[in-house]
């Protein structure tokens, strides 16, 4: 057993777990943040994507002990003051989800894509960047639309602020 401490959604947390405990299970079971999903056991589906020290990672492929000391952001940490994050709002507006199971991973991935590429996103880039996320409803078309809409929205919001 290890006492694992990290920052999750801006809050210092600490909890005991086995060394073999995956970060996703630590987040879901030890911290009770069940927005991060487990969709496969083969590291392929991306439903578990969170941000670790500012980058998207699969929390099912990292041990909680590996993440000790890091800063984690989960889907619960995106919105602020009751307002949806622009990516969440774009998924809602563009019907970017059907059953919703893959959505937390899709949204966390999309935020990371927009962080790296800015507003200058095209459809081909979004599709290539979504390589690590599977939607078994196959609702990709509207997911791509949502990411593009969010990128444009966040780009113009940034311009307005400058």
């Amino acid at each position: 057993m290890a006492k694992v401490k990290m920052t999750v959604n801006g809050r210092q947390v600490g909890s005991e777990c086995d060394d073999r405990t995956l970060l996703v299970h630590f987040i879901r079971e030890n911290l009770g943040l069940t927005g991060t999903h487990v969709g496969c056991d083969t590291t392929q589906c991306g439903a578990c994507v969170v941000h670790m020290d500012g980058r998207s990672v699969k929390s099912c492929s990292i041990l909680a002990v590996q993440a000790a000391g890091s800063e984690i952001v989960t889907i619960e940490g995106l919105s602020s003051g009751g307002e949806l994050h622009p990516v969440q709002a774009a998924f809602k507006a563009n019907h970017g989800l059907q059953c919703g199971f893959c959505t937390p991973g899709m949204v966390m991935t999309s935020v990371d894509i927009i962080r790296r590429h800015g507003a200058q996103l095209d459809e081909a880039t979004v599709r290539a960047e979504l390589e690590g996320n599977i939607c078994r409803c196959t609702g990709y078309h509207n997911i791509v639309k949502s990411v593009l809409a969010a990128a444009a929205e966040m780009g113009s919001a940034k311009e307005a602020a400058e």
Partner: protein, 264 residues
Amino acid sequence: MYATNYHRASSVQDALALKSSTDETKYLSGGMTLIATMKQRLAAPSDLVDLRHVADMKGITVSGRSVHLGAGTTHYDVSASAALKSVCPAICHLASHIGDPHVRHMGTIGGSVANNDPAADYPAALLALDAVIVTDRRQISAAEFFTGLFETALEEDEIVTAVTFEAPEKAGYSKFANPASRYAMTGVFVAKGAGGVRVAVTGAGADGVFRHAGLEQALSANWSPEAVAGVTVDSSNLMADIHASAEYRANLVKVMAKRAVAAA
């Protein structure tokens, strides 16, 4: 996953000490292969020594055309390095097509070469670039380092700390990615430098990554995609599996070589 004990190394010396004090220990870098394998219970190390926090093993240095990649450098950092792109864009292109973005944020070049998966991308680049694999105790040329399927010249507790190479005049990489895993069903890295033309193939060889003499001769005589047409690729020592026969891979070697030269 079976139970395991985790240790975080703060330096290379620390990692070596941790490894020798425990049996059935494995080094853990990004973990993008090892953790997935442990989840499937295909690997069950008693202990893990995490190398991700060893500061000396990180970072990219380019001086003139000499490139030094710390073993702990992630695929994403290789793909996004402006300094590296200015001297050897082919390796940035290669890194940007490993796995998916989340894998590239964690996976490292040191982990990839130490694992030497026969379908991994980096072994082709390192062999074609005549790279040197630097460890905690010596320097090994890529030609001597990659010895077979998942086999390397590394000793049991040896740690890859860096990879170095001279950026060639021209280089290109093209792979036919498995549609599900994005591993190379065949990937070809071509490089034209002071030492001549070198062509390395991954994903296709029954014994792992290899150089192709016929392609090297043809491209030495005429560095153009058309030069590939007259080369014969023997399928007898190539891999065959549910994804592709050996003959299909032999053809892919030529097609990927052609595209790699065109991209160089």
